[in-house]
Every structure is written in structure tokens, then in C-alpha cells.
């Protein structure tokens, strides 16, 4: 099928883009990589009257890295972020998760910020932003605000972005020293949206004992769920900690919905198993870091 007609706006500066979004308000949508929006237009699940194409806006395709974190501009493609070695060295969870986002060809066009703005409960980057406690930088004509991940996602496919507003960048902070991260998921086919996915971060103390064990989930809840499972493993040496118990602890807090791909029970089972696996991996990564390393 083909998209319904719309009025096309092709701003070349951020000011022009915000101006256009301000004028069209509720009737407008941002077009970034189009890898989620254009399928919806083609299937006529959406038919906005105005599209503001930001692909020609200068200065948005940035990946800025410093010792405190990674700031990703609205036009940085998934492939560009995943391939960014400096970003990988400070926030490895970005590449770990992006390898699981769709197929390479989709990642050449789709943007990381677009996938956050899309707020799909199955989108890997929503769990990454939430687990790391990152934030979104939003702008509208004459105003800007920064919203923490916990407030940005408000429902399935729904963020706190208001009509006339756009996401300019996303901020992924560096986790505390001696933290290991990992992303695990189960999908029907490689590259598909996962039936369940778990991002994990484990922080160890100087004696390789567990200080903190946290997870976040995709395809389990309407908005990204972050769990602190530290109590199951606190103070234990990383290789003697009962990671299965941490998995069990997650079970009571996971309340997924069934769909055609998986029953609620199966999804919860995946959640428990993936939680154990992801935490075990993350702890091993944390332990392998040189003493005094920042990650």
C-alpha cells in the first residue's frame, strides 16, 4: 500500500525545523530514518497531514563522547552509533544492544534517537536508556527541556514529546567504575523484535564482590521496566553469587502480556532465564576490568 498524501517540509536548520513543527502542531510528525514511520504510513496505520523531514537538517548527525557519557544527535544512524569506537569504549552497552536492533540494512537508515522517540516497548534502546539512567534533550520553538528516561516513556508507542516538540539528542551516561553490562534477547528470527530482552548492569567493589545488580526489559511491559535485584546477590563474590536467585527475584515483578508470539508464562520464563544469563555475563565483564578502570 501507499502513504496518504501529506504536506512535506524539508528544513535545513534546527530553527527551521522547530518553526515548521510549531506551525503544524498536532497535525505534524517528524520524519527521521523512517524505518518505523514509513511502514505505518504505507499500511495507513498513520496518516499525518504534515511531515517534517529532518534528514536535511545540518548538525544533527553527531555522536559526542567524553568521560561522562555519550550524546547522540537526532540524525545519527544506528549503524553509525554501533560503529563508533570511542562511544563503545565508554558505554559498551550501546553497541551490545544495537547489534540486536533489526538487520544491518535497517540500521543504515534508522536513527537511535528516532527509536527512542518511537517508544516501542520492544525497542532495545528504550531499555538501554532506562537502565543507564539517561535522558532526552527536547526542543520546541523558543524552549528546550531535558527529560530523564523514567519520565520520557509514558506508554506503548507513547513518549512525553508534545505536539510541536522534537527530540534533539539522547544522553547515555557512563556507568559507575567496575560495572559490566550486557544485552540478551530471544527472538523468533535473528533481527526480529524480541519476545523478551534483558539489559543488565553489574557493579563490583574493589574485592570483586557485588555492589549492585540491575536489569531492564523489552517486550515485557508498556514502558521500560528497570529492576534492582541487588538484594539476591549483595556482597557475594561475583563468581559465587547466586545469579539464579536474582533471576527468580525478577519473576515476581515481571507481569508480561500474552500475544501471538508468546504466552505470558513463556515470556516470564524467558525473563527469568535471560535475567540470570545477562547478570552472569555482566558480572564476568565487570570482573575482567583492570582495577581502577572506569568501567
Amino acid at each position: 500500500m501507499k502513504p496518504a498524501p501529506f504536506t512535506y517540509h524539508a528544513p535545513t536548520t534546527l530553527a527551521e525545523a522547530l518553526d515548521a513543527l510549531d506551525r503544524v502542531g498536532e497535525d505534524g510528525k517528524v520524519l527521521a530514518g523512517g524505518q518505523s514511520l514509513i511502514p505505518m504510513l504505507n499500511m495507513r496505520l498513520a496518516s499525518p497531514a504534515h511531515l517534517v523531514d529532518i534528514n536535511g537538517v545540518a548538525g544533527l548527525g553527531t555522536v559526542d563522547v567524553d568521560a561522562t557519557g555519550v550524546r547522540i544527535g537526532a540524525l545519527a544512524r544506528h549503524a553509525q552509533v554501533a560503529g563508533h569506537d570511542a562511544a563503545h569504549s565508554v558505554v559498551p552497552l550501546l553497541r551490545q544492544a544495537l547489534q540486536l536492533v533489526a538487520h544491518p540494512v535497517i540500521r543504515n537508515r534508522g536513527t537511535t534517537v528516532g527509536s527512542l522517540a518511537h517508544a516501542d516497548p520492544s525497542g532495545e534502546m528504550t531499555a538501554v536508556l532506562s537502565l543507564l539512567g539517561g535522558s532526552m534533550d527536547l526542543a520546541r520553538k523558543g524552549a528546550a527541556r531535558t527529560v530523564p528516561a523514567a519520565e520520557f516513556f509514558v506508554g506503548p508507542l507513547e513518549s512525553c514529546l508534545e505536539p510541536g516538540e522534537m527530540a534533539v539528542s539522547a544522553w547515555f551516561p557512563v556507568p559507575p567504575p567496575r560495572t559490566g553490562t550486557t544485552f540478551r534477547e530471544v527472538a523468533r528470527r535473528h533481527g526480529d523484535y524480541a519476545m523478551c530482552g534483558v539489559a543488565a548492569a553489574v557493579t563490583l567493589d574493589a574485592d570483586q564482590r557485588v555492589l549492585s545488580a540491575r536489569t531492564s526489559y523489552i517486550s515485557m511491559t508498556a514502558t521500560p521496566l528497570v529492576l534492582d535485584l541487588t538484594e539476591a546477590v549483595a556482597g557475594k563474590p561475583f563468581d559465587a553469587a547466586d545469579w539464579a536467585a536474582a533471576g527468580q527475584l525478577s519473576a515476581d515483578q515481571l507481569d508480561p502480556e500474552p500475544d501471538i508470539h508468546a504466552t505470558a508464562d513463556y515470556r516470564r520464563h524467558l525473563g527469568v532465564v535471560l535475567t540470570r544469563q545477562a547478570l552472569t555475563d555482566a558480572a564476568t565483564v565487570a570482573a575482567a576490568q583492570p582495577q581502577g578502570a572506569t568501567r
Partner: protein, 174 residues
Amino acid sequence: MTDQQAEQTFPITLSVNGVPRTAEVPARRLLSDCLRHDLRMTGTHVGCEHGVCGACTVLVDGAPMRSCLMFAVSAQGSEITTVEGLADGETLHPVQQAFKECHGLQCGFCTPGFLTTISAVLDDNPEPTREEAVEAVSGNLCRCTGYQNIVASVLRAAEITRERSAVAIDEAGR
């Protein structure tokens, strides 16, 4: 029809397989439809129109992308390579030659998308392992072949590229 006629159109210029092409398209014209309908280049196939099958994959400034998930207006000024642009005159592209030798196609519907995708993968990684070859084609669907011969074609294409460059070096040395 009347509101379609009233629809605003945009003049665009693309370089398709090295040839500058122009078209006058409404904003909602997909790049795939622009290539097939406006430019009459039907090598690019359209299966699902939602990014899943990969039949419509073309190279945009060298990177493989879904032409069904791009508007032609957004491609303004880009360098597009379609399956028609892979061969060098009568000489098949190594990936095309490999598909022919390894029976990498049956009905051929999916083939243009595989050829463009694989050609870009081999540019980045001229010596893929079998695992990397599987990963390279994991985003494309084929209803006929069962994929085994397509994976074999990826590996054979890498071999053909090496053979051809060895011959070229040999000839240059003579």
C-alpha cells in the same frame, strides 16, 4: 484522481548507477516506486513495502537501504545503485556470477535485493566467514531457495573477486 492531480510535486535529481536522472514526484512517492514507475527501472523489486523482505534494497551513497522505506524526495542528490548498475557491461558482477554458478536463485523475485545487499557487504568485508555470510543475508527473505545456495553464493562471490583481482595484478605485472 482529482485530489491526486492537485497534489504538490517536487522536482528531484538522483544519480542512478552513475547517470543523472530527474523526476517530478509527489512527496509520498516511495524511492522504490520512483525507480520503477517514474524512471522505468524495474530491476528493483517490491515485496512487502514495510521493510521486512529486502527485495527493494538499493545502495544509497554506497550503503544498502530499503527503497520502500524512503521517500524519493529525501533521496534528492543521492547516488543510487540498483541491481541494473552492478554488472560492468557484459561482465557480471562477482555476486551475479556467483549466484549463476551456485544456483543462488530460482524464481528470482528476491534476487535484486540479495545482490545489492551482498555487494555492499563484500565491499566492507571481502573475506566473510560462513557465519558472516549468513548474517549478511539475514535481512532478506527468499521463498524458493532455502538459503543454502545463497550463502554459498556469498562465499563464492568473495572468491571470484579475489580471482579477478589476482588476474588484474598478473596482467598489470606483465
